[in-house]
Amino acid sequence: MLAIQLAITGLQTGALYALTAVGFSLIFGSTRIFHFAHGATFVIAAYLFYWVYGTGWGLVPGVLAATLGAVLFGLVLDRLVYVPIQRHEGSFFTVFVASFGVGIAVQNVIGMIFGRGFTSVSTPLSRSAEIIPGVYVSPLAWIAMLCTALLLGALHFFLRRTHTGTALRALADDPELVRTFGLNPRRIAATAFVVGSALVVPAAIITSATTGLNPTIGHHVMLISLAATIVGGIGSISGTMLAGLLLGLAESLALLVVDSQWTEAVTFAILFAFIIIRPSGLLGRIAAH
């Protein structure tokens, strides 16, 4: 029974990892910006929801505030940090340090406003029900999985079937070339930030209602996103999604053998295994050079 319980919990966690990681992968894949502050986007969305919903303004305003906050943060960061750095021939490392710094600043500001401890949102949906003897599942688990399936389906449609989505993939393919066709690369990049940042919102909200929040959660989120992007194969959205699910499941099922404090090590073990055995990732193409 424990294995089933852990598998379901793992799928729930994995679904949320998949969403967050796909957001990062989309931004990194199309803009090549190492958006380390993606974890901060998650924290901002989560705390905004916690604040608005916790104040008693209801679910819809909470979701709206979280979405707006995440998208604006992504856009503003791109505009005020990444664009100026890139304009001055900024290296990968400069972008990384700047992004990392923003992440820490956000973590501290959140800590000052909301305190450093654990907080969580209690919703009527958080309560678990016994679905089969010994296995407890909250409605939020199903919502998490459904949300992920719907959003990633929508993302797939967006990238494959719309003009804007095709342009996003074109940017990933050849950023110089899109200009030849009259596309403004900055505007496509901004679109990637909007979509990528919005994808973390459901994960942030559901996490705030399940495992709970603290200001440092951004680091964990970022670690998972990065690991999933590498394990899935850089540039592969479907690979990242599968890797997110895999990491969530592994983290949960690892509890069968190890203590809960070691679960993050499981993530690293999987990451290293892939780097050594299959560096191109689950669905990644092997780089030509």
């Binding site: 804007t164 095709t166 074109a170 070339l177 030849t180 596309l183 403004n184």
Partner: protein
């Protein structure tokens, strides 16, 4: 910049005293040239003469050291390459630079007009775009391969996909970098037909080409570049019959 249609022979793009050096090497030196509406200009010259660099300079993909380029009477200095592309300057690349992982259709879609991006466009506009894309793919013989990934196409098909993209841009000026090199005779005929139709339809072409049969067959005018300098610019027969240019082009054998 607004799109206007100048009369035949009016200058679309005026290039004055263009200069570019890479380190100590002068890639383009003091080149001046007019690209006139409806005229097919061919750039010839030995490898390394600066032909592709010249394209990169006039599209703004490469910053020029000095000189002026005007498009429809307006200075293009400081104009971002994507703006100039939107204003009507299209180009192809010698190495094609297709979006390899994308289908033929998606490659062409990315070349269509993007003025409103990322805002959705109207249904009527979308239908017009689809019809235009289908038309372009029929003319290039790629309509049955529209779902094929670019990387899976044969060599000639890849060349035609590169052409299909510039056709879909509705650019007024086409800068073509060796579009016909390596084509088999049938494909080559098809390419000439397309080019002639579009020139008749009002497109202005500047083309880099090595094959002198092609050059004579389609050019109104030949510009001869060597080591970054424009050595001759004029009527094809006059330029090609110049013994000095022939010596440079073919080496001392001729």
């Amino acid at each position: 910049m607004t799109k206007t249609s100048p009369a035949l022979g009016e200058p679309l793009m005026q290039i004055r005293n263009l200069d570019k050096s890479f380190g100590g090497v002068k890639a383009v030196q003091d080149v001046s040239m007019d690209l006139r509406a409806g005229i097919v200009t061919t750039l010839v010259g030995p490898n390394g003469a600066g032909k592709t660099t010249f394209f990169n300079l006039i599209t703004g993909n490469l910053a020029r050291d000095s000189g002026q380029v005007t498009w429809l009477g307006q200075d293009t200095a400081g104009l971002k390459p994507y703006r100039l592309a939107r204003a009507g300057v299209g180009r192809t690349y010698q190495d094609l630079r297709l979006f390899d992982g994308m289908s033929v259709w998606e490659n062409v879609l990315n070349a269509t007009e993007h003025g409103a991006f990322p805002m959705p466009i109207s249904r009527a506009h979308r239908r017009g775009r689809r019809e235009r894309m289908e038309h372009v793919l029929e003319r290039t013989g790629l309509i049955d391969k529209r779902h094929t990934r670019a990387i899976d196409l044969a060599y000639a098909e890849r060349k035609f996909l590169s052409m299909a993209r510039i056709m879909a841009t509705e650019a007024q000026l086409w800068l073509l970098d060796e579009p016909a090199s390596g084509l088999d005779p049938n494909s080559y005929e098809r390419f000439l037909t397309i080019l002639r139709e579009d020139v008749a339809g009002g497109v202005t072409v500047c083309i880099i080409e090595h094959n002198l049969d092609i050059v004579v067959g389609i050019s109104d005018r030949i510009a001869f570049l060597d080591r970054g300098k424009l050595l001759a610019d004029g009527d094809p027969k006059t330029v090609l019959n110049d013994p000095e240019l022939a010596r440079i082009y073919f080496g001392d054998r001729a």
